[in-house]
Assembly symmetry: C2
């Protein structure tokens, strides 16, 4: 079966998340339906990061199998034509390298939370930011984030529904920066537990509000107990920024 | 009548523009309705820039008259409460200085066009950018923009429906910059003719595509003939960024 790599941007607000499910449209569904119109027959996808309902992507990576071959250089434009009017856009498409998996070949995933930290609610960025009206201390949040770096048991930040066998993960990067009214929390790791980024962000917000001392974050991590961490941050404001591979699936083939 | 200055952010996509009109909701209408809920009685507004349908604002300035006084420090939050779920947000509110008019006291208005210049359509920024798939030469656009600076008869860039008595305007700034796939055209002047920014942007795009030599922009300006300029650029992508006053209406009163 012909097998392609796609780089995808989407606005998550109108979707029930990446994965097909009853009770609403998913990104997977609209993408597979668009692909099904190219070549009559089934189209199947697998994905680097199964984003939740309302979570956005600037650089999601998808493997697409088609029933019959389609010219890779025309694939992005053809899919975008059939994806209208959904807010899903194929930025790049390429023939997938042999043996490549968007999920298992990934070496780094980067997610970003954007917090709009001002009294007035968002208008221009509605649905794309987490609105926190009370002033947050981004320096304290950055300090609290530091002990989470490296390899740990992240059970405290793992959702009840997480299906991973082990809660051990290696967090490569977790930064908190402020520019005027916007705070960005950026997290990078080979892989994350289910809701790990949202649960870390929910706890960091408690530090930013002054309800937690920065040192409490390390204590909560060490306890490996979900009940001790903060609430799950809302989906709006979270974006899958980038997925990296040892060999870029979109790079032109070397000669 | 108590008289307030408001700083407003809005997403223009769902509106027929600033001004009340039949056949759809306007920003003026939803703001005046929200204000009418604070104090029973009429609320009236005047505005710095009457944005078109689909045009956004990050810093629109409005004068609001209420039937009875309302504490200025609670006004933004109270209006935002009643503005829900419309994508209109009051960023600041203050008692208006005596004799101040948001429109006639303005000394500078700044508008920005954002062009998404890549083959794939926008998903995350849909409605907020002008999508131009063919590659634009931003350097050529910047060169073409330069002769428009200063005081000129801008008849070539004036809409047929413009009600201004004179087409003479002084353009303080017109820049074109590129960052990766995004081109920004930023224009600042004390005031603009109707559709002037959109018509200048439409012509600059022709330069960017190579359909016009950069020097043609100056010739079109000199001809003072609307038929010679490019088409009006679409509303999506245009944002009223800022309105400046000799005395900032939101500054705390000096003692």
């Amino acid at each position: 079966m012909p097998f392609y790599a796609l780089l995808l941007e989407y606005e998550g607000t109108p979707f029930r998340g990446w994965q097909r499910q009853v009770g609403g449209i998913s990104i997977q569904e609209v993408l597979e339906e668009a692909a099904g119109k190219l070549k009559r027959g089934a189209a199947a996808t697998t994905v680097a990061g199964r984003t939740d309902a309302g979570v956005h992507a600037a650089g999601q990576v998808v493997a697409l199998e088609l029933a019959a071959a389609f010219p890779a250089e025309q694939l992005a434009a053809a899919l975008n034509y059939h994806l209208r009017p959904h807010p899903v856009s194929v930025l790049r498409a390429a023939s997938a390298p042999p043996g490549w998996s968007p999920r298992f070949s990934a070496v780094r995933r980067t997610y970003r939370y954007v917090i709009l930290n001002r009294p007035a609610p968002p208008a221009l960025a509605a649905g794309r930011v987490w609105h926190v009206p009370q002033k947050l201390d981004a320096m304290a949040m950055a300090e609290a984030a530091r002990p989470l770096l490296g390899r740990h048991d992240f059970s405290s930040f793992r959702a009840a529904g997480c299906q991973a066998k082990s809660a051990l993960r290696t967090l490569d990067s977790l930064t908190v920066t402020r520019a005027e009214e916007t705070i960005e929390i950026t997290a990078a790791a080979k892989s994350f537990l289910y809701h790990q980024v949202r649960n870390m962000a929910g706890s960091l917000k408690l530090v930013g509000e002054g309800r937690w001392e920065p040192g409490r974050m390390a204590a909560v991590l060490a306890a490996a107990d979900r009940r001790l961490a903060g609430p799950t941050a809302p989906a709006a404001g979270l974006t899958l920024l980038e997925v990296r591979y040892a060999r870029d699936p979109f790079a032109p083939p070397s000669i």
